[in-house]
């Protein structure tokens, strides 16, 4: 051992002194904790059924112009991810295979005074209606139309682009599933148009316009049991975990007791880790979007969702792709956006999910210029029974 390798041991006091030096200073006062305190107070009030003032939601809104860009930021590389990150949405689900059930014509006529009332009513209905099983040898066809907002702060253009995602689930759950996804080409321009987008990208890329297809990929995958690769699920905006892509066994094993189901969702790492996202409501939406939930699980899920602290009726009659239901939403802890699910209490059907920007943040490339009240993502789902895999059923 060389002399250089001989190091004097610290004393316990020296170690404690160094640890104390690394310890943060006391916060300056209650103001530092005000946001946390407000979030807690709101959550408690909501839990106790007391009203909390909240801004109204609104459909896609006009842009009022954009701020100056942030110089020196490598934004384009992450443009696709950015667009996805800000995606917030609406999923509309109809049970096409169950045409005998009530339809969207039976829109909610009564006002639901509480989340619990709305969801429990839906749960009661779901218990009656149930899901339609896939007939032997047939396929459950699920078509999801998703609208994603594309935005950056240095180009005078922003649009919501539509993507169609289709899955064919065999009657044997463990069999081969098929997933197809592609942009439809439909765009809703919030600011600018194709020309301003092209000109802006060329200016930023030294005369070379960016090919947006890179950020709006297409694809087709087959997978046993619906276990599609993570990349495919990311493209279509679904989680590839046990909530977004549950196995048949998982669906069978999930608790039918609402409290147990709620506790399981609340304990999920994605909820603990990412409380700024939709939390338990996000997980519930992931499950509901699969279109594979047995009726008893769906009922339990509604009753579990009713237990989410801070969940409130955000819109009595929300219209998504022509279907109406009551919107139930939460504002995650930092209050930057609202996540909602839309449920038709008259039928018990899960109509969709929706996310709405609540705060303007011009410091972020993905949110710069987006006004509060902007719905930044939407998708709709139609389900039906298909005779053949890869073939769209008539009427879809």
């Amino acid at each position: 051992m060389t002399e250089n390798n001989v190091r004097r041991l610290w004393t316990n006091d020296e170690l404690d002194e160094a640890l104390a030096s690394l310890r943060a200073e006391e916060p300056t006062g209650r103001r530092t904790l005000a946001a946390a305190n407000n979030a807690l107070v709101n959550a408690v009030r909501s839990l106790e059924g007391k009203s909390i003032p909240a801004p109204e939601t609104a459909p896609l809104t006009e842009f009022k112009g954009k701020p100056a860009s942030r110089a020196g930021r490598r934004w384009w590389i992450s443009a696709a991810a950015a667009a996805v990150v800000i995606a917030v949405g609406v999923t509309v689900v109809t049970s096409g295979a169950d045409s005998s059930g009530p339809t969207s014509a039976s829109a909610p006529r009564v006002k639901f005074l509480s989340v619990r009332q709305a969801l429990n009513t839906a749960a009661d209905k779901i218990h009656v209606i149930g899901e339609t099983p896939v007939p032997a040898g047939k396929f459950r066809y699920v078509a999801t139309r998703t609208w994603l907002l594309w935005n950056d702060s240095r180009i005078p253009a922003a649009f919501a682009g539509e993507r169609l995602t289709e899955t064919w689930q065999p009657s044997d759950f463990a069999g081969q599933w098929l997933l197809k996804t592609a942009p439809t080409g439909s765009r809703k321009w919030l600011i600018g148009d194709e020309q301003t987008l092209k000109a802006g990208t060329e200016k930023l890329n030294g005369g070379h316009g960016a090919d947006l297809s890179e950020y709006w990929p297409s694809g087709e995958w087959r997978a046993a049991g619906g276990k599609f690769p993570g990349k495919a699920m990311a493209i279509v905006g679904r989680s590839a975990d046990e909530w977004g892509a549950p196995t048949e066994q998982r669906l069978a094993d999930l608790p039918r007791d609402p409290q147990q189901l709620y506790d399981l969702m609340a304990a999920d790492l994605s909820v603990v880790n990412k409380p700024k996202l939709g939390g338990v409501l996000d997980i519930a939406a992931q499950l509901l979007k699969t279109g594979t939930l047995p009726a008893d699980l769906k009922e339990s899920l509604y009753r579990a969702v009713a237990k989410i602290p801070g969940l409130k009726v955000t819109e009595q009659v929300a219209n998504l792709d022509g279907r109406t239901g009551v919107a139930l939403g939460v504002d995650p802890v930092d209050g930057t956006f609202r996540m909602e699910i839309i449920v038709d209490p008259a039928t018990g059907e899960f109509i969709g999910e929706r996310r709405t920007r609540l705060k303007r943040d011009d410091n972020d490339i993905t949110t710069a210029g987006i006004n509060p009240g902007t719905v930044t993502f939407s998708s709709s789902v139609q389900t039906a029974v298909a005779d053949e895999q890869g073939v769209v059923p008539p009427g879809q």
């Binding site: 316990n12 916060p27 946390a36 979030a39 839990l47 609340a266 602290p309 802890v333």
Partner: protein
């Protein structure tokens, strides 16, 4: 043991920070909990992940506490220890941010004094070097070791409380704490802190 019996046992044990979090009126219960512990929890979080992250995480800690109030067992731990446990679990999910913060501290902490009595200057420089070395060493610790050490040093929890919130025996906490302190006293940085450049923030 019923809930009432657990409270009675907790009270008999002398714990006065063991509220019934499932009482009928949540507002005063949780406001009291927040008023009593939020500053300490935030300071602990700020020490480990930096002040910006701490402002978010302290809110998340109390929201999770609200959601999971039924799981709080006053016979096992004080409310303070339980909250530190929640905060520590949250930090586990933000381990990248914590390690990055510690490495930044290791790089930036302290500016050597340029004047004053020579011995005092030397002592201060030694102390600053120690702090930087410690920050680097903390970043290289196994997460479980770091939790035990910092719950003890910054959270000011005793071994039984740490064991309760981490779900490990108090004896294991003591032996782990002894081992980690011995390691740090020898300034044994498990691995050299790499450059910050090129790191991605996945949090």
């Amino acid at each position: 043991m019923t809930r009432a019996e657990r409270y009675a046992a907790a009270g008999a044990a002398g714990g006065d920070d063991r509220p019934d979090l499932c009482g009928p009126d949540l507002q005063p219960i949780f406001q009291s909990l927040f008023d009593r512990h939020a500053r300490d929890v935030r300071r602990y979080l700020a020490s480990r992940a930096g002040p910006v992250a701490a402002d978010d995480l302290v809110g998340e800690t109390f929201l999770i506490a609200l959601q999971r109030r039924a799981s709080y067992d006053p016979a096992r731990a004080s409310a303070r220890a339980w909250l530190f446990g929640i905060a520590t679990n949250l930090l586990r999910q933000h381990a990248r941010a914590e390690i990055r913060y510690l490495r930044m501290t290791a790089r930036d902490h302290g500016t050597p004094v340029a004047h004053g009595h020579a011995d005092r200057v030397a002592d201060q420089v030694d102390a600053q070097v120690r702090v930087r070395e410690l920050a680097a060493a903390l970043a290289g610790l196994a997460p479980g070791d770091r939790d035990v050490l910092l719950l003890s040093s910054w959270g000011e929890l005793d071994a039984s409380e740490i064991g309760a919130v981490l779900g490990i025996p108090a004896g294991t906490v003591r032996s782990r704490l002894h081992r980690v302190r011995r390691l740090l006293r020898a300034r044994a940085t498990p691995k050299a802190p790499p450059s910050l450049e090129g790191e991605r923030d996945d949090d």
